[in-house]
């Protein structure tokens, strides 16, 4: 049996690799200790990773036995090592910049994620000329996809738990730090605006908790409805620490008695001396700007920058790695390509299936994430919800076993990475609005977005329509997945948000700018 003893010199900065291989014939190694060719490559990569982490630049004595006793061409191995070192460095860099996925920018700097025009043109030309062969592949892939099993909710929660928004409060604080330290600041308000599903409210609540800042005690629905302004008396005229209003929607009601609450709040804060930091949804912000021309009342405002595909990659990797030490790889169901970098989610353990495409190094962020970023408009919870919907299991997986495994928190990590299949973006079925819906639907959805959800009594109070009409509509929209009822609160579903936004645009209703 021929064994290759391989040594490498490498430079982790410019990825240059020098390789020496030497045949060893007389080495006695039991067959069962020798893995396949692909695993050998993993050994090389693991060793490279360890060497990088240790700050070494030399690897010696790698023992390899290629499949069919073929010697690995040095150039090929060199290329693999080069690509791996490069991706390793990218991962390290992206990990270092993790906190930067939360960015707050001035309105004119805000950008939506977009596919580059050149890429769109390329994909168009590719589609035109790709012809019959691709369709055959797709047909096969569709057959495979149809066999995939839905991942149990416990597994999905395990792989993509609800975001904890860590990193965002620090970024908010960093953004306003000069203003907080300024003894004669320009204006006493700072508003942070995010689209529906951005989590701005949670971020500001966390910030208040971390810094020990006062949070506004919110008025009840009846207070807002009945012109009871007593809740404003709790706001002190002066306080050294800022007042936090995590969600301005909490003091807003699109009712003839409701607007006065916002006016009085602004008036009170304006005449006081306490700094105030507010969170506001882009839908309410647009309404306040268009209907009440209140933009200038709030001095300065910042937009939460939408997530790019790269940001989404970091976001999903963080969610997955925080929850578990189990190694997992995410692969696209129709072509097997990696959706998230296996170096991160695989935690060094990549199963043999995952290495099939080893010689065509995946580029990250993946196409799936690029499409998701565009379709979700880079909104964290919209993207997160679609991501959860995309996670599937292979047909041979025992769903019950996995559910038990997930439930057992003391279970030791398995030796090989578990493969989670991700539906191709084109195959994801997102909720769509039922046909034949009219103005009332647009009104209802707009009100839900502007209030960030409404309880049933509020819907009936604010929308002056017949109760049975509204009940029928709520049921119909809930059935189609466009809206959901959580904790007695109706709100637009995150997955349904792209369809809702398109519908409101078609109906020429007020649109947010995010």
């Amino acid at each position: 049996m021929i064994i290759h003893r391989t040594s490498l010199n490498f430079n982790p900065d410019n990825f240059a690799v020098q390789i020496w291989q030497k045949n060893i014939v007389d080495r006695q190694i039991a067959d069962d200790n020798l893995e396949t060719y692909s695993l050998m490559l993993n050994d090389v990569k693991s060793s490279l990773r360890r060497a990088c982490n240790a700050g070494n630049k030399t690897l010696e004595g790698l023992v390899c036995r290629p499949k069919n006793n073929e010697m690995i061409a040095q150039k090929r191995l060199q290329k693999i090592c080069y690509n791996f070192l490069k991706s390793l460095k990218e991962q390290i860099l992206s990990a270092e910049t993790t906190s930067n996925i939360w960015k707050f920018v001035e309105p004119h700097e805000f950008q939506l994620p977009a596919e580059p025009a050149s890429k769109t043109a390329r994909s168009f030309i590719y589609r035109m000329f790709s012809g019959f062969s691709e369709r055959q592949e797709e047909d096969g892939a569709e057959a495979i996809q149809s066999e995939l099993k839905n991942a149990p909710s416990s597994l999905v929660d395990w792989l993509a738990p609800y975001p904890d928004w860590l990193g965002a409060p620090e970024e908010i604080y960093r953004t306003i730090e000069p203003w907080l330290e300024d003894e004669s600041p320009e204006g006493l308000f700072r508003v942070f605006i995010g689209p529906y599903g951005s989590g701005i409210g949670e971020m500001l609540t966390l910030l208040a908790k971390e810094k020990g800042w006062q949070t506004l005690s919110l008025p009840s629905y009846n207070q807002l409805l009945k012109s009871d302004f007593s809740w404003l008396e709790k706001i002190s005229a002066y306080n050294e620490t800022p007042l936090i209003i995590p969600r301005l929607e909490s003091v807003f009601l699109r009712h003839y008695n409701g607007l006065e609450h916002i006016r009085k709040l602004i008036r009170k804060l304006f005449h006081g001396k306490q700094r105030c930091i507010m969170g506001c949804s882009s839908w309410l912000w647009q309404y306040l700007e268009s209907a009440m021309e209140m933009r200038d009342s709030f001095c300065k405002h910042y937009y939460l920058q939408s997530f790019s595909a790269q940001d989404l990659q970091v976001f999903f990797c963080e969610l997955e790695t925080k929850k578990t030490n189990q190694a997992t790889v995410f692969r696209q169901a129709d072509n097997g390509s990696f959706v998230l970098p296996p170096e991160i989610t695989g935690k060094g353990w990549i199963d043999q299936d995952a290495t099939v495409k080893e010689y065509t190094p995946a580029t990250f962020p993946s196409d799936y994430l690029k499409k998701l970023a565009v379709e979700s408009r880079g909104i964290p919870l919209v993207a997160w919800s679609i991501w959860r919907n995309s996670l599937k299991l292979a047909p041979e997986e025992d769903v019950a076993d996995i559910a038990r495994e997930v439930a057992d928190k003391d279970a030791t990590a398995s030796a090989t990475a578990k493969t989670i299949w991700v539906k191709a973006y084109k195959d994801i079925e997102l909720p769509q609005l039922p046909s034949g819906l009219g103005q009332l639907t647009a009104f209802l959805l707009m009100y839900l977005l502007q209030h960030d959800g409404l309880a049933s009594p509020a819907i009936f109070d604010l929308l002056d329509f017949e109760d049975d009409q509204l009940i029928g509509l709520l049921n119909r929209l809930q059935k189609s997945g466009i809206i959901v009822n959580e904790n007695e609160l109706w709100r637009a579903s995150w997955q349904g948000y792209p369809a809702i936004r398109r519908f409101l645009a078609e109906q020429d209703h007020l649109q947010d700018s995010m």
Partner: protein, 271 residues
């Protein structure tokens, strides 16, 4: 020199020369195309976002006029010998007959052609003609069809454009200003009432915010007239919008303790 006598045989083609089958096909095709235009364009408009209605629906009379004109141009030479004398004779006779017998009909037809190009009204416009207010549902060759707020269909000949005035509330666009009136007893806080009515307009789901919301007042001996001038998102919701503002406005004013003027008066709607 004796004038040339033109006989009917010389004007019309001989019966065996008239292609009856071709004429039937031509007329059927024209009718079919007209019918398709009447069905397809509204169907297309309803499939697209509402703002496209105002571009697509006015095309219906133009297409119908074109189809009719082309069909006539193709039909006439198949019946009449195509000479200059024949055309002059035929059109002269037709003109004479129309002049005496179908004067009003011809007047409406010509007015209809002018209306297509001048566009004092288009399909989808809300117009007031001879005191009748409604939405233009169809423009035919001779007349237009209005549907009033009471859901009555009214047919008005195009000749109304010769000597009547036509008030067009939206003039081909989607926006239409709507006015909602309230009458309050004179002794009240006008500033507060104004603010309440402004808020009423701002919270209505119908309100279009790209246009201003204005509240105007006028004092009368018996009370104060308030007018909310605002635009709905879709002008077709005019009456629903006014009803919504009226309902909310009455509730808001009552809740704030305002008293409505109860003297039976006729509102001066012209100012």
């Amino acid at each position: 020199m004796t004038p040339e006598i033109i006989t009917s045989e010389q004007i019309l083609r001989d019966l065996d020369q008239i292609p009856f089958f071709y004429i039937i096909i031509l007329l059927t095709t024209a009718l079919f195309l007209t019918s398709m235009v009447r069905r397809l364009i509204p169907a297309l408009a309803s499939a697209l976002p509402p703002r496209f209605n105002y571009y697509l629906l006015p095309l219906i009379p133009i297409f119908r006029l074109l189809i009719t004109a082309i069909a006539m141009l193709m039909l006439i030479p198949t019946i009449i010998r195509p000479t200059m004398q024949n055309f002059i004779a035929v059109f002269g006779a037709v003109g004479l007959a129309i002049g005496f017998a179908f004067k009003d009909f011809a007047s409406s037809l010509i007015a209809g052609i002018i209306a297509v190009y001048e566009q004092p009204y288009r399909v989808g416009d809300r117009v007031s003609i001879n005191g009748i207010y409604g939405e233009v549902k169809a423009i035919n060759l001779r007349s237009l069809k209005l549907v009033t707020p009471d859901d009555n269909a009214v047919t008005i000949p195009h000749s109304c454009i010769w000597n009547g005035s036509i008030q067009n509330a939206n003039d081909g666009s989607r926006e239409q200003q709507c006015t909602t009136m309230f009458f309050l007893k004179p002794d009240h806080d006008a500033g507060m009432a104004r603010q309440i009515l402004r808020d009423v307009a701002l919270v209505s789901p119908y309100t279009q915010f790209s246009k201003p919301v204005k509240i105007s007042l006028r004092e009368y001996p018996w009370g104060t007239q308030y007018r909310i001038r605002a635009y709905p998102v879709d002008g077709r919701d005019e009456f629903a919008f006014i009803s919504d503002l009226t309902t909310r406005g009455k509730a808001a004013l009552t809740e704030a303790g305002f008293k409505f003027a109860s003297v039976p008066v006729v509102a001066d709607t012209d100012n």
